[in-house]
Amino acid sequence: MFYCGRCLGEGLKPKAEFGINPGSEQVRFTIERDGFINTFEKLGATIFTNACGPCIGQWGRYNDPKNGPKNTIVHSFNRNFSKRADGNPNTHAFVTSPEMVAAIAISGDLNFNPITDTLTNDKGEQVKLAEPTGFELPPKGFDVEDNGYLEPAEDGSSVEVKVNPSSDRLQLLAGFAPWDGKNITGAKLLIKAEGKCTTDHISMAGPWLRYRGHLDNISNNTLIGAVNAFGGATNKVKNQLDGSYGEVPAVARAYKAAGVPSVVVGDSNYGEGSSREHAAMQPRHLGVVAVIVKSFARIHETNLKKQGMLGLTFANEADYDKIQEDDTFNFIDLTEFAPGKQLTIELVHVDGSMDTILTNHTYNEAQIEWFKAGSALNMIKAEAAANA
């Protein structure tokens, strides 16, 4: 346990460690000027960078957080889900006001109620903490020396954007290819996802976030969390080109390398969760042309449209059951893609038999143009070039 004999000659010794992360350099500079930092340092507090830190899990509290001990912390942050602050599933994090954090940390006791309870000081006396007092705004005004802001160039046309071509964290985007105007035929099933498939199943977070600026590298997590309806395993799908089984990203890359488009099939509320665009960009990057599901989470459906993909729903939900592991998809009326008009798909099964199914879509005129251009950005780029 923490005990700061060095800095506390008198008074109450805090039973817990204190950490402070100021919200901005302006606040930090002003509270230092006004002596608050000094007071916290007398309590042995660690002053962290003006940054998110422990509030988003950027806290190097343990070397092996997954096996961390059962313990309790109190903070004045916003979220306290399991592992959120320190990666330790055994940390019990409680959220309260900053003044209550201070009182509870001094007492070291989650049950401490400063309104009614007393603490024992180093003379053995029972003392009660006074009610908090403070200032809405600094009486001497805010102050800061260097606020850390850089104003952009008035004319940035000659500024070079710095991306090292050998970086594993950043990669300039190439832009997706436009639609060739023909019906898509011969597309292979990549995965038929069963049950819940959130954006975390499609593009897993955690260590993968390191690659969020590198589309090709982060694509190696594509759909690795989704459960394959055939076999019930995650990240194990059939490669129809050679009959082998492999990881989803590897099989997708094999199709892409062979010039074979692929299709993802999903269940209800496909793509719920975070709104991050990687969940749409990655399948697109790996050669997936269509995502056909029972129903979409709305934001993910829009993201698929923006990246130039076909986001379709089964007109008859039960058609989900017609999809077989070795299926080939032919989009036979894509050349007539129009708002409010269903798209027809031939499912060619491995035994040569065939089912024809209808799918719905919610593309408006403008969104169909995104699909034709290859992505919404390609469309914007073309418009910008036309206006230049």
């Binding site: 008074g11 916290f40 019990h92 959220v95 000081n121 665009e277 390609n378």
Partner: protein, 325 residues
């Protein structure tokens, strides 16, 4: 519905793909004022100086990319260590009656200054920076009427901890939460920011307050007297009409009333922000649930609670403890 937001703010994790995409749009500059804030890629370990240097060593290529791409396309750049995106936005950019989007769920913090501020994915930020309209399903309205005045140990945080307990982590989904009443006016602007910030924890699209004198004081204290003067000129349009606040049930889909005079301090958790326990009841609750009661760390700060007011109030407790020999 389509909207044209006034600003875009991005943090260093989500900004990467957003700006890589924006580069594809063929534009010379962003269409609306936009900023990048380097606050996510810094690990807290030893203390500010050493931790910041470690982050620069580890992630310099990301910071260099963000700095250069910002410089090229007219985007304001806040360096690592400059501060947390939502606090910096509140201090510099948020304004009453404005609308902004940000690539982080706690963008909603700017509601404390009377903004409609909404957290979005990178693709939405790209659209707005490229000049495209931004689409949002028109939200429901939840009204929270605050009566009375806080005192003693009760803080603005306790309002949202109480609201989270009432509405749960899903109760605000698809809704804008508007706080109003005498209790709202008696609260600081940064306290309002705390409440709006944690609106993300109940799933709300955003939360906001009508313009009042606390916001004017904050604008003037942060060097924006010009914005305060402009806001004062149209202040009747920057808050709800009297008849709405007089008869909220008629205008809001749901109304919650909280009396600040009797609101007691709360402590929420563990593992979820909507498990609300009054501090006075924690002995019973922790014994029943078997939560470890020995507290190892107390952490103060973050985008939610790192205002001058927050730190000064927490500091008064620290000073009192030091003095009670």
């Amino acid at each position: 519905m389509d909207f044209d937001p006034d600003r875009v703010a991005m943090q260093d994790a989500t900004a990467q793909m957003a700006l890589l995409q924006f580069m594809q749009a063929g534009k010379k500059k962003v269409a609306v004022p936009s900023t990048v804030h380097c606050d996510h890629l810094i690990q807290a370990r030893i203390g500010a100086t050493a931790d910041l240097q470690e982050a620069l060593n580890k992630s310099h290529e990301v910071f260099n990319f963000l700095e250069s791409v910002s410089n090229k396309y007219g985007i304001g750049f806040w360096k690592p260590g400059a501060g947390i995106i939502h606090q910096v936005v509140l201090e510099n950019y948020a304004f009453p009656g404005g609308m902004m989007i940000g690539t982080d769920s706690h963008t909603v913090n700017a509601g404390g200054l009377g903004m409609v501020a909404i957290g979005v994915g990178g693709a939405d930020a790209v659209d707005v920076m490229a000049g495209m309209p931004w689409e949002l399903k028109f939200p429901k309205l939840i009204g929270v009427k605050l009566t009375g005045k806080m005192s003693g140990w009760t803080a603005p945080k306790d309002v949202i901890l109480k609201v989270a307990g009432i509405l749960t982590v899903k109760g605000g989904t698809g809704a804008i939460v508007e706080y109003f009443g005498e209790g709202a006016k008696s609260m600081s602007c940064t306290g309002k920011g705390t409440i709006c910030n944690m609106g993300a924890e109940i799933g709300a699209t955003t939360s906001t307050f009508g313009y009042d004198e606390s916001m004017e004081r904050y604008l003037r204290a942060t060097g924006r007297a010009d914005v305060a003067d402009l806001a004062n000129g149209v202040k009747e349009h920057l808050t709800g009409d009297d008849e709405v606040y007089a008869d909220p049930e008629k205008y809001f889909d749901q109304v919650i009333e909280i009396d600040l005079s009797t609101l007691s301090p709360y402590i929420n958790g563990p593992f979820t922000p909507d498990l609300a326990t009054p501090v006075a009841d924690m002995k019973e609750a922790s014994a029943k649930a078997g939560w470890p009661t020995k507290v190892e760390w107390g952490l103060i700060g973050s985008c939610t609670n790192s205002s001058y007011e927050d730190i000064s109030r927490a500091c008064s407790i620290a000073e009192d403890a030091l003095a009670k020999a």
